[in-house]
């Protein structure tokens, strides 16, 4: 099957610091990939490059055969790559439904439709549907700052879904969640896969990463040290050393 997303020899340097070094990966349609690694391994930097927040120093990112590295984040979002953030980034003074509509509006912002009323019932209903999908149907009119962390994370997923993306990048979506909430998240990720979405997730919560990922990539100090099925990665000596240290 032809990959949906191909990352080839991606490198990002911040001055003398190499945050990501020569990382390659590929994502197939309807696949769930996990990216794990200790703090500072370069996982979020990798997401930031895929979503256009950072331009890579070197390397290629190809989405549906088009090179997208260095493009503006809004262009990449409009092409169909949605993401969430490691530290929740809701528009705090906007309601949950307005947060979702912000992303839903990507179909209107660059067209004459930008003069349309954003809260028109047909748009608001769509946003409410997405919030209901992530279990926030009753909280649609709450201001984002009043939602709990778990709900803010769900709202971010709804917001990413509003872009109608083919790929969703989930950056530590299980962080700070209780066991039950993590289980609900796993269920939600599987549901999204069934609906045809491809997902890359960064996870510190190994249970979530191992349970949903079809393939895992392990980063350490910006370098890809291991890749393979969750079982294979778990046995990899390099991974064990990266997490636990060597004798």
């Amino acid at each position: 099957m032809k990959p949906l997303l191909e990352v080839e020899h991606l490198t990002k340097r911040f001055g003398g610091l190499v945050a990501v070094s020569n990382v390659s990966l590929h994502l197939e349609p309807r696949q769930i990939l996990g990216i794990i690694g200790p703090n500072g391994a370069g996982k979020t930097t990798l997401f930031n490059m895929i979503s256009g927040v950072y331009a890579p120093t070197d390397g290629i990112i190809r989405f549906k055969d088009e090179e997208i590295q260095g493009q503006k984040p809004y262009r990449i979002a409009q092409k169909g790559i949605g993401r969430t953030f490691q530290v929740c980034q809701p528009f705090k003074d906007l309601t949950a439904v307005e947060n979702v509509l912000m992303a839903y509006g990507s179909f209107h912002y660059d067209r004459p439709g930008c003069f349309k009323r954003y809260m028109a019932p047909q748009f608001a209903d769509k946003a409410r549907e997405l919030l209901a999908l992530v279990g926030l149907g009753d909280y649609a009119d709450w201001e984002a700052k009043d939602l709990s962390l778990a709900y803010q994370r769900r709202m971010e997923i709804a917001r990413a879904l509003a872009l109608n993306p083919e790929i969703i990048l989930l950056d530590e979506s299980a962080a700070g969640l209780t066991h039950e909430e993590s289980m609900e998240l796993i269920e939600m990720i599987r549901q999204l896969q069934k609906e045809g979405k491809s997902i890359i997730l960064i996870e510190h919560n190994m249970r979530v990463a191992m349970e949903v990922s079809e393939r895992l990539y392990v980063l350490d100090h910006g370098e890809l040290i291991s890749e393979g099925s969750p079982d294979a990665v778990q046995q990899d000596q390099c991974v064990i050393e990266a997490y636990l240290g060597s004798e």
Binding site: K72, F91, L94, L101
Partner: protein
């Protein structure tokens, strides 16, 4: 018959409302700071004065020309804002105010320190507008500006502006072309300031560079901030209060500005969202409370 004094106050209220709304668009909606908005008022005032006096444009054509000229410079500032943020943008806009005043003061074409006089009184079908008619026109323009902003704020543009204001990087990842909407905010805002400048010039009939100095920029910002940024009614009410209040404080003469300043300090200390901003003390008590379920 309304006394001329009240007509003058009413006209200045309208001009200040337009200025407050213009800064409201930029700072309240799009979250961009401007400490030099008087410059755009000056560009509007001088454009309108020069094209009516030298090129014999009718006022009705001069007014949109003034707004257009201010918007063109505003577009340039918008492009600059793509590279500058917050404090740096504020200082740049302040610098722009000084540059404009400097040009007006030193270029003979603009009348230097003596400014421009003999600005024609607006006329319609050969009839010169009276002060009352001028006020009615100003009120109509204020109403049009309010409708325009109300329409914009409930459109996707308004939502995009709020995204830019709250978290620009996040809005971009949500598919919002933030650069485009920042520039659009600058264009709308500066066009409104230019329009206010045109009204000012054709009301006073005589303008000098000193009318549009840095203190005026601060005053414009104060109108909107005191009323409540991020709303339409806030800047409108802020402009009404701060234009009329100094008139009522005349009885304390020498302490008028001191009282005025203290009032501002207290409002900012205890109501930083402005007197009529979202969730301000006044708005919380005016809005009906939700019944608990």
């Amino acid at each position: 018959m309304i006394p001329p004094y009240y007509l003058t106050i009413g006209t200045f209220v309208c001009i200040n409302i337009l200025l407050a709304l213009s800064i409201g668009v930029l700072s309240g909606y799009a979250g961009q700071v401007s400490l030099g908005h008087a410059a755009f008022m000056a560009i509007g005032a001088y454009t309108s004065a020069l094209v009516t006096r030298n090129l014999h444009f009718p006022f009705w054509l001069a007014m949109p020309t003034a707004a257009f000229m201010a918007a063109v410079i505003g577009l340039g500032l918008g492009l600059i804002s793509l590279r500058l943020k917050e404090d740096f943008l504020a200082i740049t806009t302040m610098g722009l105010n000084f540059i404009v005043i400097g040009i007006l003061l030193y270029a003979p074409f603009f009348g230097r320190a003596l400014g421009i006089g003999d600005i024609p009184v607006p006329s319609l079908l050969g009839h010169e507008l009276s002060r009352f008619e001028f006020l009615c026109m100003c009120l109509a323009l204020v109403a049009a500006a309010i409708v325009l902003l109300w329409w914009l704020q409930r459109s996707w543009i308004g939502l995009a502006w709020r995204g830019v204001r709250e978290a620009e990087e996040v809005a971009q990842v949500m598919g919002v072309n933030t650069a485009k909407f920042k520039i659009f905010a600058f264009v709308v805002s500066t066009a409104m300031a230019g329009l206010a400048g045109s009204l000012y010039a054709h009301f006073l009939l005589f303008i000098t560079p000193y009318d549009f100095g840095f203190p005026l920029s601060i005053q414009i910002l104060t109108l909107a901030v005191l009323g409540g940024l991020g709303t339409i009614h806030g800047p409108v009410l802020g402009a009404v209060i701060l234009t009329i209040l100094p008139e009522y404080l005349r009885f304390i003469q020498d302490y008028r500005m001191l009282t005025y300043g203290l009032l501002l300090v207290f409002v900012m200390l205890y109501q930083p969202q402005g007197l009529f901003g979202h969730k301000s003390f006044i708005m919380r008590h005016l809005k009906p409370r939700k019944k608990s379920s």
